[in-house]
C-alpha cells in the first residue's frame, strides 16, 4: 500500500498507452491490407476469383458481425439479404421491370432496400427470445428464395437473371477484385470504428448484461435498429457484388449453406472481435480450395467446426490470439479508493429536490413484497434500507429504477411523479444503480465496462462513429478520461486494461460503482455493495460512499452489514414484511426495541 494520496492522476498516460495499443491492434489489419493490395503480383487469376469472393463475403460478414458477434443476436438466415441485394441489383441493371439503371445506382438502391429489410428481419429480436429469433431468420431465408423462384416475371424464376457488370476500370477481373477489396476495407474500417465506440460497447452490454445496459440508459430498440439497418445495407451491397462475380444468378445459388458459412465465420473468429471473424471468413472461403475432394463435404465440415468451437473454444480465434490477457495478474493487489477524486467526478452536482416514495405497494401473486412504503432520499445524504431477507429491499430498489410498476402509491423526483416502467429513462434522470450480483461484460476490459456507464453522455450519432468523425473522437476521449477518473476514484486504475472476467468479486463491486459514477448521478442506488467484501474493503467503501454523498449525490444503501449502515447513514429505514418497521437516525434505530427484536438481535 503505497502513498496513494501523493500519486498525481495522469489521464494522459492512459491515452498514450491507448494509442500504442491501437497501433498494435491495427498491425494485423495493415498486414492483410498489404497482402490484399499486392495480390495480383504473385497470385494467378483463379486465386483472384477466390480472393474476390472472400472480399464479397466479408462485406456481408462485417455487418453481420455487429449483429451476431457484438449484439449476440443469433441471426442464422442472413443469406436472405444477400439474395435480396443480388436480385435487386441484377434486376435493376437488366431493366426487367423499369428502364435499366447504371450499376452503381442499382447497388445504392439495393443498399437502401437491404437496410429496410435488415430492419424488418431484425426487429423481432427486440421481442423474441434467442431460439425464436434464430428460427424466424431461418424462415425468412427460406421464404426469400421461394419468392425468387416464384416471381418469374421479375427474377426469371428458376432460369435466373444475369448479374450486373461494373464499367471500367472495374470490368476486368483484377479491376473488380480491387473494387470489392476497397469496399471490404471500408467495411472493416467502419465496423472497427463502431466496435471501438460507445455504440459497440453498448451492444456488448446488451448481449452480456442487458439489465445493466438498460440501467445505463442504453435503448435496445434504437441501437439494434441502427445496427440492423447498417448490417442489412452492407449485406445487400455484398449481394450486388456477388451477382456480378457469379455473372448469372438463380435461386439455387443462395442456399442455406452460405448462411451457415457467414455465421460460422463469425463464431470461429470470436465474439466482440473484428479481426477474428475477418480471419474466419478468409479461412472458410479458402479452405475448400486446398481439398478439392472435400468440397461436397464443406458444409458438413463447417458444422463440425461449429460444434468444436462451441464446445471447446467458445472465445474463437480472437481468444487464442489474446496474449495480453494471459499474463498473470498481481495476486496480492488491493483496492485503494481515492475518495478525494469524487469531487472532480461529480463536479457540479446541483442541490435538487428529493426522491420520494409515497405509500408504495406491490405484490407478486399473493405475496405482498412491499406494502405501503414511504421513503425519502435527500441529496447529499446516505439513506440506509435494511431488513431481513424477503422484507422488500431489492423490490423497493427495482420500483425506483422502474423495473416494477407499483400497484399503489407514487415515486416522485423533485415533486414530479416518475413514469413507471421506463427503466432506461432513469439514467437520463441521473439515477444510477448497482446490482446484487455484479452485472458486467466479462469479455470487455474494466475500462470499457466503466465507459459503458457514460453511454448517454456521448453526443455523436451512430453514423458519426461509423465514419470516425470529430464528434465521435471527442466523445471517446471524454468517456475514456472520465472512466479513468472514476476508476482511480474507486481504486481500480491499475486494472483498467484487464478483461473484467478475470477480476475478483470485490473488484467487480467497485467496478460497478465506477460505472454508476459515470452518470454523475444525482441519486445512486446500491444493492448490497458490501456483500463479499473484506472488513478492510468495507471501511474503504464507507469512505468512498461518504465522499459521494458529500459531493451532493443522494445515496440509497441496501445492506445487511450493520457496521456499514450505522457508520455512514444519515437516515435509516427498517423494513419488515414489506412495511416500515422503523425509520430515523442511526442512534434512534439502534435503540428501537422492535428492530432489535426483529432484526438486529438483542
Amino acid at each position: 500500500m503505497m502513498d496513494t494520496q501523493a500519486t498525481p492522476l495522469r489521464p494522459s498516460r492512459a491515452n498514450v498507452r491507448g494509442s500504442v495499443s491501437t497501433l498494435g491492434a491495427a498491425l494485423p489489419f495493415l498486414a492483410l491490407l498489404v497482402v490484399g493490395v499486392s495480390l495480383p503480383l504473385f497470385a494467378g487469376g483463379y486465386w483472384g476469383v477466390i480472393a474476390t469472393r472472400a472480399c464479397v463475403y466479408w462485406v456481408l460478414v462485417s455487418g453481420l458481425n455487429l449483429v451476431v458477434g457484438f449484439a449476440g443476436q443469433i441471426a442464422i438466415g442472413w443469406v436472405a439479404l444477400l439474395t435480396l441485394g443480388a436480385y435487386t441489383t441484377s434486376v435493376l441493371v437488366a431493366g426487367n421491370v423499369m428502364p435499366a439503371l447504371p450499376p452503381y445506382l442499382a447497388l445504392a438502391i439495393a443498399a437502401v432496400v437491404g437496410a429496410i429489410f435488415g430492419l424488418v428481419i431484425g426487429l423481432p429480436a427486440l421481442r423474441l427470445r434467442t431460439f425464436y429469433f434464430a428460427i424466424t431468420t431461418l424462415g425468412f431465408a427460406t421464404i426469400v428464395t421461394q419468392v425468387a423462384l416464384a416471381w418469374q416475371s421479375v427474377t426469371g424464376g428458376g432460369v435466373g437473371v444475369a448479374g450486373p457488370v461494373f464499367p471500367e476500370p472495374f470490368a476486368s477481373q483484377w479491376g473488380f477484385y480491387y473494387f470489392c477489396f476497397g469496399l471490404a476495407a471500408i467495411c472493416t474500417w467502419m465496423t472497427a470504428n463502431i466496435a471501438a465506440s460507445r455504440f459497440g460497447r453498448a451492444l456488448t452490454a446488451i448481449r452480456d448484461a442487458e439489465v445493466a445496459a438498460e440501467a445505463c440508459g442504453i435503448s435496445k430498440p434504437v441501437l439494434l435498429g441502427a445496427v440492423f439497418l447498417f448490417s442489412g445495407a452492407v449485406a445487400a451491397v455484398a449481394g450486388g457484388l456477388f451477382a456480378s462475380l457469379q455473372s448469372y444468378i438463380t435461386p439455387d445459388a443462395f442456399t442455406l449453406d452460405l448462411s451457415v458459412l457467414f455465421f460460422i465465420a463469425i463464431l470461429i473468429g470470436g465474439r466482440s472481435s473484428i479481426f477474428g471473424p475477418l480471419l474466419g471468413t478468409i479461412l472458410l472461403t479458402v479452405l475448400p480450395e486446398f481439398a478439392a475432394p472435400l468440397v461436397a463435404w464443406s458444409t458438413f465440415l463447417y458444422a463440425v467446426l461449429l460444434l468444436v468451437i462451441v464446445l471447446a473454444i467458445p472465445g474463437g480465434i480472437a481468444e487464442i490470439l489474446d496474449f495480453k490477457n494471459r499474463r498473470p495478474l498481481e495476486s496480492d493487489r488491493a483496492i485503494v479508493p481515492r475518495p478525494e477524486l469524487i469531487v472532480r467526478l461529480l463536479d457540479a452536482a446541483p442541490n435538487g429536490g428529493a426522491l420520494t416514495l409515497q405509500q408504495v405497494a406491490l405484490s407478486f401473486g399473493g405475496v405482498r413484497a412491499i406494502d405501503g412504503l414511504d421513503l425519502e432520499i435527500r441529496p447529499g445524504q446516505v439513506h440506509g434500507l435494511i431488513g431481513p431477507n424477503g422484507s422488500g429491499k431489492t423490490t423497493t430498489l427495482n420500483v425506483i429504477s422502474g423495473y416494477y410498476a407499483p400497484q399503489r402509491g407514487a415515486v416522485r423526483l423533485n415533486g414530479a411523479a416518475m413514469h413507471v416502467l421506463a427503466h432506461h429513462r432513469r439514467a437520463h434522470m441521473r439515477i444510477a444503480r448497482t446490482f446484487q450480483t455484479p452485472r458486467i461484460v466479462g469479455s470487455a476490459s474494466v475500462l470499457q465496462n466503466v465507459m459503458i456507464g457514460g453511454t448517454i453522455d456521448g453526443e455523436g450519432t451512430f453514423v458519426e462513429s461509423l465514419l470516425s468523425l470529430p464528434r465521435h473522437r471527442r466523445d471517446e476521449a471524454m468517456l475514456r478520461d472520465t472512466a479513468m477518473l472514476a476508476l482511480a476514484a474507486v481504486g481500480l486504475e491499475q486494472l483498467a486494461p484487464v478483461r473484467a472476467d478475470r477480476l475478483q468479486h470485490s473488484e467487480l463491486r467497485f467496478t460497478e460503482i465506477a460505472r454508476a459514477l459515470m452518470l454523475r448521478p444525482k441519486f445512486l442506488l446500491l444493492d448490497e455493495p458490501a456483500a463479499g467484501l473484506s472488513v478492510e474493503e468495507i471501511s474503504r467503501l464507507s469512505a468512498l460512499l461518504l465522499a459521494i454523498a458529500r459531493a451532493g449525490t443522494g445515496v440509497l444503501l441496501v445492506e445487511h452489514h450493520p457496521d456499514l449502515i450505522f457508520d455512514i447513514c444519515h437516515h435509516i429505514t427498517v423494513l419488515n414484511l414489506g412495511k416500515t418497521l422503523a425509520a430515523g437516525t442511526p442512534a434512534e434505530i439502534r435503540s428501537h426495541r422492535e428492530v432489535i427484536n426483529a432484526y438486529l438481535g438483542g
Binding site: I74, G139, A303
Partner: protein
C-alpha cells in the same frame, strides 16, 4: 375440394404437432430447444425408405428400426450437443451446438442418401381410397402419441419423474432423481416421436433431406404459438397451422402460402411472444 383440403390439412397438421411434441419433450427435460427436432422427422422418413424400400425389410421391422434410429439420434443429441452446454444455459450455446449437429446430419443425409426426394413405400397393402392411409396414418400416430404421453405422465412412476424434472430441475435432483439418465431417456423418447412423425408422414413428405429445415421451422410454429412445453396447445396450433397452410395453398399457391404462414407466425409472435395459450410471466431483475 373442401374435404381434400381438410384431410390433407389435418394430416400435415398432425405431423407438425408431432414435431412440436418432439421439441417439447426435449425442452421439458433440459430447457433446451433443439434444432434437431426437424432432423428427427426427416430421419424417420429416410430410414423408413432405406429399411423397407431399399433393403426390403418387412414393414414392421423397418418401422421399429426407424424409431430405434430416432431414439439413438436423440441420445446422441443429448450427449454431444446438450449436456456439454447445459452449464452455460444463459449463454444460449445450445442454439449453436444443436444447430451444428442438425446441419451435420442433414448434410450427411444429402450426400450419402440423395439430394433428390426419394419415394417412401406404401405401408399397408390396400388400394388408394379417398380417406387414404397417407392421411390417416399421421392422424393415428399423433393420437397414439398424445394418449401414450398422457398415460406415461399421469400413470407411471417414470412419467412423474419426467414431470418433476421439467417442473424444477434442482429440487428433483435434490430428491435423488437420476437427472442425467432421465434426460437421456427423454431425448430417446423425443427421438422416437420425431422419427414416428417422419415415418407416418413419409408418403406425404417423401424421404428427402431438405425436410429437416422445413420441419424444424413448421414444427416450431405450434410450439411458439401453443406455448413452450404445452403439448395440448401444440396439437391445437399444429392442426390450425396445417389447415391454414393447405387452405392458403389452394387459394394463393404453394409458394405464397409459405409466405402467408410465415407472416402470420411473425405477427402472432410479436403480439404475444409467450404464445397464445400461456400466461405472460417474466422476472428479470
Amino acid at each position: 375440394m373442401v374435404a381434400s383440403i381438410v384431410l390433407s390439412g389435418v394430416a400435415i397438421g398432425c405431423i407438425y404437432a408431432l414435431i412440436a411434441i418432439t421439441y417439447n419433450v426435449m425442452f421439458s427435460a433440459s430447457r433446451v430447444f433443439s434444432f434437431t427436432a426437424g432432423t428427427l422427422g426427416m430421419l424417420g422418413g429416410v430410414l423408413g425408405s432405406l429399411f423397407i424400400a431399399r433393403m426390403g425389410m418387412p414393414v414392421a421391422v423397418g418401422f421399429l428400426l426407424a424409431l430405434a434410429g430416432g431414439a439413438v439420434f436423440g441420445i446422441v443429441t443429448e450427449i454431444v450437443a446438450v449436456r456439454p452446454v447445459l452449464k452455460s444455459l444463459d449463454q444460449h450455446l445450445y442454439v449453436l451446438s444443436t444447430l451444428a449437429l442438425a446441419l451435420m446430419i442433414q448434410q450427411f443425409t444429402a450426400i450419402e442418401w440423395s439430394t433428390e426426394p426419394q419415394p417412401f413405400p406404401r405401408l399397408l397393402d390396400i388400394a388408394h381410397v379417398e380417406f387414404d392411409q397417407q392421411f390417416w396414418l399421421p392422424m393415428l400416430a399423433c393420437a397414439a402419441v398424445i394418449v401414450g404421453l398422457e398415460l406415461l405422465y399421469r400413470h407411471s412412476l417414470i412419467g412423474h419423474a419426467f414431470l418433476a424434472i421439467a417442473e424444477d430441475n434442482y429440487a428433483a435432483r435434490a430428491l435423488g432423481l437420476p437427472e442425467r439418465r432421465l434426460r437421456m431417456m427423454s431425448y430417446a423418447l423425443a427421438g422416437a416421436i420425431g422419427a414416428l412423425a417422419g415415418f407416418a408422414g413419409g408418403e406425404m413428405l417423401l424421404a428427402f433431406f431438405a425436410n429437416a429445415p422445413m420441419l424444424t421451422f413448421y414444427g416450431f410454429v405450434p410450439v411458439a404459438l401453443g406455448g413452450m412445453g404445452n403439448n395440448r396447445g401444440a396439437v391445437v396450433a399444429g392442426l390450425l397451422l396445417g389447415l391454414f397452410q393447405q387452405t392458403a395453398n389452394f387459394l394463393v399457391g404453394g409458394i405464397f402460402a409459405s409466405v402467408a404462414v410465415f407472416t402470420v407466425f411473425i405477427i402472432v409472435l410479436l403480439a404475444r411472444p409467450e404464445g397464445i395459450a400461456s400466461p405472460a410471466l417474466r422476472r428479470r431483475v
